[in-house]
Amino acid sequence: MNSKHVATAQDHSQTDSVLSALADGELPAAEFDAVFGASDAPDGLHLRWQSYQLVGEVLRGQAPAPGGRPASAFLAGVHARLQAESGVAPGPMTVTPPAPVEESLALPPSRGRAPAANDAVFRWQLVAGVASLAAVMAVSWSVLGSGAPGTAVPDQGAQLALVAAPAAPAVAPATVVVQTGQGAVIRDARLQELLAEHRQYGGMSALQMPAGFLRNATYDAAPQR
């Protein structure tokens, strides 16, 4: 009993390192085949891979994908719902999850109610819809604010005031203050765009291949076009 416990723990840590390598894109093909191709692939491998992706997304500061539930859970949800509603096993559309997947299915606690897996997805879609609408409004607001005809060209003082205004923090303001070695300077978004183009299409240098390209890919702000 005890020894079996230890063996399982070892298996898990080994699987974890394999999953970690896979997530980093560094798992050699031979090893991939050995682990994932084997008929006795470790239990719950699929779930653990899912949680790896989730952890990765959270670490990268991205919201977890709304549909990011294990595919097995989704299939099982559909399966359970169909059975509950019709009481008849679906014909040609029968979804029969493989055995290890079925096992992992026992995990959701609310099995009695068997909610459709895509309930949550729909709620998320609503949330996403509202969020994108809000984003569009925020962008339009800043566009109207900065590009409206008849708006006088702001002088430097006005631009500074613009920077200080807390409007639409998610949207890059037309002008930002940049700290450089020579002290703070005012820099506008247009200048940043041209700077990116200068580096992309104007990097005519013998040092471009050995250093320039890597430098620009590392340093440059993302192209905002």
Partner: protein
Amino acid sequence: MGVILSFRSAARCHPARVSARPASRWGALALMALVCGLVQPAPALAEGSRSINEWLMRMHEASRQRAYMGTLVVSAGSTMSASRIWHVCDGVQQMERVETLTGAPRTTIRRNNEVITFVPGAKAAWLEKRESLGLFPELLRTPSNAIPEHYGVRELEAERVAGHLADVVEIVPKDEWRYGYRIWSEKKTGLVVKLQTLGEQGAVLEQVAFTELQLNAPVRMDKLVQLMNDTKGYEVHKPELRKTTPEAEGWRLKEAVPGFLPMSCHTRKVADVAGKVTAPMQWVFSDGLASVSLFVEPFDPRRHGGERSDVTGATQSLTRRIGEYWLTAMGEVPAPTLRRFALALERSR
């Protein structure tokens, strides 16, 4: 074994194909230099074992023929950025992956001169061809190129960078129109492991360095290809460039800036914030190491404020109104060089 294999395959790299146009420009330069009697004897500074062209060629080839991965740091002004780098070559093509470790997450993957930049935050990707990447091996192979006329080379004591012993080479400008460079080139392979851009009195304006570097690393090309092609969930933008000439756009330089030759001229479609489409002209000059871009667009009082100049790290910029047009000049050159460009640019019709 794996290491040996990847090294061997890396050594089979062929030179990237290069378009004939830039090469012919450099041919024209050589001719001009001969006609004007500007070709000078070997520079007095070049007392080391290699000429400046040999050094540059060595560095260029090293970056193309090795498989490596490492961590790169860029410091410009008061900002510091870092990225993780993977580089591989399979005998036909070379690929590179740059994953930013600072700022907004961004992945850049390059296959020869084809570049895709993924911005996960915006779920957007930019796919483009960069001519500048395939440009210089041919230039350096031609017997006379412009670089030795404007820069000398000085070899310093070897130093260690990212755990590797490196030759230190200083590229010294021969006049005040350009900056100098100090380059650390890994001793065995020639790979550039550190580079500084030097201003007046040798002040360091900007530097790029590996903090950790694994040479002949087992980087898998098929993995990089897979990553490059996986644009699922991303909106892919393909910026459109339209080749043009300054003559066709109605511009000329009334006086050349010493050593800088026109390299390319194009416009691109850019939608501005108001949804109006503008196409600024980008006219690019280079002296072989430093480059300058002149962007010209119609003057718009709503967007173009007062004339001013700006600097970040080694990059200078200045803006100037020329009649009904607005010039933005940028380049890794001293401010007076940009001013000279700005004053020389005029309408030709």
